[in-house]
């Protein structure tokens, strides 16, 4: 485990090309422990791809992806799988295993990756479901859940192994304002109480400024700005200003 203040995650000069199209070019970001980095940008700019690289689901053409001092792009599959147990991811569509109940979904990483007993697993599952306020839905199948409940189940599953880093892919996308606020509150709770380091990909400006301790703006595969929320607000970059203005114009 790295000490607070030291970078938990670092991407250095990452380039990714998919089907001959450059998705990310010379992307460098860093995130100290116990901070929340919000990555913003227009749809299709490569935000979710960035998370895929951090999870080791995509391998960049060049550059380094350092997690806890080790470059995950150079790891063997076995070590990569080990590193992944320290990273939780909440997918945009929940990505819950459709044939398993809510409780079974949350228990899955514990059963597969730890040697905990059934009673210990049941206790952790109950605790995580309580955290996301889903104790009553533990026996439901994902198809019986609303979008917000699916995201919260995904969050409970991501937290099951007590990861050092949690990645959120569009956590509020497609949710009503109440559920969206609920998810934001959970991320803040993780940040303030559990001291979990997080990277949140979103284009929901309100969520972004509520959650972020640091922000990065991704545009056409490149990081235009990385800094504090205040630096972001005061940015003179025309693309970022346009992005902020469009959001302000949307507000009632």
């Amino acid at each position: 485990m790295s000490a607070p203040g030291k970078n938990l995650v670092e991407m250095q000069g990452v380039k990714l090309t998919l089907s001959e199209k450059v998705i990310l070019e010379d992307v460098s970001i860093s995130l100290p422990k116990e901070e929340v980095l919000v990555v913003m940008g227009l749809s299709g700019c490569g935000k979710s791809t960035l998370l895929g690289i951090l999870m080791g689901l995509l391998t960049p053409d060049s550059g380094k992806v350092i997690f806890n001092g080790e470059d995950i792009t150079k790891m063997s599959r076995s070590n990569l799988n080990l590193a992944r147990t320290h990273i939780g991811m909440v997918f945009q569509n929940g990505a819950l295993i459709s044939s398993l109940t809510v409780a079974e979904n949350v228990a899955l990483p514990l059963e597969e990756l730890t040697k905990k007993s059934a009673s210990e697993i049941a206790e952790i599952v109950a605790q995580k479901l309580k955290l996301v306020d889903l104790e009553d839905a533990s026996e439901k199948l994902p198809s019986e859940l609303s979008g917000g409940m699916q995201k919260r189940t995904g969050l409970a599953r991501a937290l099951a192994l007590e990861p050092e880093l949690v990645l959120f892919d569009e956590p509020s996308a497609g949710l009503d304002p109440i559920n969206s606020k609920l998810i934001d509150e959970l991320i803040i709770k993780l940040r303030d109480e559990e001291k979990v380091t997080s990277i949140v990909v979103t284009h929901e400006m309100e969520s972004a400024f509520t959650l972020a301790t640091r922000m990065a703006f991704l545009h056409e595969g490149k990081i235009l700005l990385q800094g504090t929320p205040d630096e972001f607000r005061n940015s003179k970059d025309p693309t970022i200003s346009d992005f902020l203005t469009s959001f302000k114009n949307k507000e009632p």
């Binding site: 599959r77 990569l80 991811m89």
Partner: protein, 263 residues
């Protein structure tokens, strides 16, 4: 035309390479897991897949094999009767069903019934991001999803082939008694006399190979799905067509190999 054939050959070889890569990756994940002192897969998953692939396919295999055996004995008997040799029917049907028809019919039934189900399931999981989530958690999607399915179909194909062989021979005995005046006693006595252990082993080896082929193709096609529901449909069709064609082609190659090297 030549370039089209070349392109098809290259893409076919690429698919074959990817499929071999999937099987190799699955075994490598299994061994890594075993090396850590953990069970490589959940036994309840293997049993569930075994139930679906094996027990669920029994009625269809029995029905098809019974009627194929019956028809085969009838047509062969009528042809042999011209030469007064209809008493050869038990030997012809039992040997051909054991070496050829039983494993082949089982392969075709499993490719269409179980191969399609595997591809559709894994395809839907791929399209829904479930496979990515399992991989992202560090569980190992191949070990968790492919291994139980592959093992179930690999070990159950020979079991079903034996059921198919017995059903086919029983169907042949039935029609021989009814229409060719060959009694059950004579029929089964001739089966026991003419059927060699080598025939049985050849049929079992062939069906193990078919199980491996169907399992690999079905799982590979499912995990390679792109493009949502349409992609799942396309992959399922492709899986069934590829698996049935491969089973028939491999069957011919296997027969040539066996008859050449173990005559």
């Amino acid at each position: 035309m030549i370039s089209k054939v070349g392109m098809l050959t290259i893409s076919g070889l690429e698919e074959l390479g990817n499929m071999v890569g999937l099987v190799q990756g699955t075994f490598s994940e299994i061994f890594e897991r075993v090396a850590k002192g953990r069970s490589p897969f959940r036994m309840d998953h293997v049993l569930l897949q075994g139930y679906r692939a094996g027990v669920g396919s029994v009625p269809m295999v029995i029905l098809l094999s019974l009627f194929v055996g019956l028809t085969m004995a009838l047509l062969t008997g009528y042809q042999l009767r011209v030469f007064g040799m209809e008493t050869l029917v038990p030997a012809v049907v039992s040997v051909s069903f054991t070496r050829e028809m039983g494993p082949l019919f089982t392969g075709i039934v499993l490719a269409s019934r179980i191969g399609a189900a595997y591809t559709a399931e894994l395809g839907a999981m791929t399209a829904g991001g479930e496979v990515q989530a399992i991989e992202g958690m560090g569980i190992g999607a191949r070990r968790f999803l492919v291994a139980p399915r592959f093992l179930a179909i690999f070990f159950l194909t020979p079991c079903l082939a034996i059921i198919s062989i017995l059903s086919g021979i029983f169907g042949a005995a039935l029609i021989s008694e009814l229409m060719l005046d060959i009694s059950y006693g004579y029929f089964f006595d001739q089966v026991m006399t003419n059927l060699l252990i080598r025939d049985v082993l050849s049929g079992i080896a062939k069906s193990l190979l078919f199980g491996a082929i169907i399992g690999s193709i079905a799982c590979y096609k499912g995990l390679a799905v792109k493009g949502g529901a349409v992609g799942v449909g396309t992959a399922t069709t492709s899986s069934v067509v590829t698996a049935i064609s491969s089973v028939i082609v491999v069957d011919s190659i296997f027969n040539i190999f066996i008859l050449t090297f173990f005559p």
